[in-house]
Subunit: 367 residues, 2 copies
């Protein structure tokens, strides 16, 4: 369990993503009813709109979006590097064009800290240099040089983040380990990042295109190198089998857009694998997404046939209901994983969750 | 109070519109929390998708959409005449092109009854001939002849509806008075329609483009002609001042898309008039949509500034929250109107609801 100024959360924890100060389509009271105890907000989006000064004016992100539990914000770095038209990267930071209005925006370690201090999340993330992963990574050369530079910068930027963090008593700053798919780089990154005393550490740069086996290789190597007495957070992962693999490797915290993004696309998660609710086979299907599920969708008795209708009719309620179900699915997985840790009984977890067989066996039961 | 197989509702009653088996974006439990006791579904949309046979397969509209309170469905006529590419109108019925797939669809009084019997609403509406209102209506001639034909057809079609209605013990069939803006035609239509013994009667063809004074003239003339011991339903009306005028003229039931449609467009209703939440003036506005409001949006403390952010960021939660507030606004107006009926104190209602001064005084407090 992790304690924050806005309450505690059980670990391993799954954080639904509330990118723009809203878990898409979901009232906070409904997010809570999925079993979620902590949510994530995106610094990149919030600094551009409405602006962290505006959020601060409202008393911070918790009060602004009416979520009174713990919140984590990322640093903005990942989105800058993955979404933006970048003008310049220097040792100082990144200059990019806003996706909102095309204006030029500077993001430096100090600025990321200032923005996150204003947003006021309970856990904030270090601003790091995250170069795009490249197929040619193993080929060495220019890309290897870029990765080495990123590692050096990341540690210098982390020092600047720690130095400029204005609210260390209220907001826990986590460092981020990078290093791509190279295990030696990962080890060196752990040594550097964990050399700075911080309340938690994250594994970044995973699930940016690699398959399940590659994710496993990185996580099973890296997670055990992190200090066990601090929360360990695997950023942006992932499918059920990835999460449980990581829990067994020692990871405490997860976030992923899968439950909400797939929910908006009519793809529901179940213990037996995904269900595509747009499929014609569901037109007269009276069954719930998942029998026995107590989420706000299944608990109220919404059938697969009704949900299919909502998606075909382009009714907002479809994305809402399946997002709720999907988040509840991941929260139930985490609850069972916590029990598996207590009991040290992973066979039972796998028996209860056939989907954990992995991508190969996770075929839709309506395929 | 009106009693139905799915419970009772207080009158005067306001019905939120759930066109396609969903009040847009709102879980039924949240609709209920706005104070709504009965909702409306649209036969036209539901017969085209998913089809009334599909809804019947799921046990009817209540079970399909998980709303266990009373439901009213319209006949499909209004949408056929206002939305469709009509191929042919005959004494038998209407042939039109589906907006879903362009296929040819027949809608007759018998077919409308069959569809509504399958949907299974507690109150169903007669299928009538509703020609478009015309600016040249007063000019007589061709349009007058069309209106007379519509009146004759409407009564013949009503007889066919009553004769073919298969579930009169479970579903109350309401007749619809037409007649446009001509008071004599309205009187004759009342005589014809109310000549058929039905559990309720509606005033149709109002609020299809006329102003408040014209609506008042029609309703204050027509409503008192309807039998007082049966529910009287004014279809598709309207703004707060229109509704209260009609309540005082004896109307018991209302439906309107205004709270949900305006809610989706960031226009909030308040006792003092509309508030446009996209306005820049709300960027740092910490106030609720309406102080003292206990709707799921205001009750949870969402500020105007946060709502503005949601709309600018195109987050679904904006339309959801403002729709909830707006429906609650109309339900509170109805609750106060019921009290005004009991107390026979309309001055107090007007004092409590400055917006009732009418369209002229209902300026946004943020204009």
């Amino acid at each position: 369990m992790v304690h924050t100024p806005h309450g505690s959360f059980d670990t391993p924890a799954f954080m639904p993503v509330g990118t723009k100060a809203s878990v898409k389509g979901l009232l906070p009271e409904l997010v809570k009813r999925t079993g979620s105890q902590i949510i994530l907000g995106n610094t990149y989006h919030l600094m551009l709109r409405p602006g962290s000064d505006v959020v601060a004016h409202f008393g911070g992100l918790h009060r602004f979006m009416r979520w009174d539990g713990p919140i984590l914000t990322d640093s903005g770095g990942y989105q800058v590097f993955s979404m933006s038209d970048i003008n310049r990267i220097t040792d100082d930071g990144v200059v990019f064009k806003s996706i909102i209005d095309g204006s030029t925006v500077d993001l430096t370690p100090e600025r990321s800290m200032q923005v996150q201090n204003e947003l006021g999340a309970d856990i904030i993330m270090a601003f790091d240099d995250c170069p795009p992963s490249a197929a040619g990574e193993d080929a060495g050369g220019a890309h290897a040089a870029r990765l080495d530079l990123a590692m050096e910068r990341t540690i210098r930027w982390l020092q600047r983040c720690a130095a400029s963090h204005a609210r260390p008593g209220e907001q826990a700053l986590f460092g981020i380990v990078q290093g791509g798919t190279d295990l030696d780089r990962r080890r060196r990154s752990v040594e550097q990042v964990c050399g700075i005393d911080l309340p938690g550490y994250a594994i970044g740069g995973v699930a940016v295109g690699e398959g399940t086996e590659e994710i496993r290789r990185i996580v099973e190597h890296t997670a055990p190198l992190l200090p066990a007495e601090r929360p360990r957070y695997l950023m942006g992962v992932g499918y059920e089998w990835d999460i449980i693999m990581a829990v067994r490797a020692g990871v405490d915290m997860f976030d992923c857009v899968l439950p909400t993004r797939n929910g908006r696309n009519a793809n529901a998660f179940t213990r037996r694998g995904p269900v595509r609710l747009r499929n014609a086979v569901h037109a007269r299907d009276k069954s719930l997404i998942e029998a026995g599920c107590d989420c706000p969708a299944c608990g109220a008795g919404f059938s697969r046939g009704y949900l299919r209708h909502l998606f075909l009719a382009e009714e907002m309620l479809g994305p809402i209901l399946v997002s709720l179900h999907n988040i509840a699915h991941f929260q139930r997985l985490m609850a069972d994983a916590r029990q598996a840790v207590v009991d040290d009984d992973w066979a039972r977890l796998t028996a209860d969750w056939p989907v954990l067989g992995g991508a190969d066996v996770a075929v839709a039961d309506d395929a």
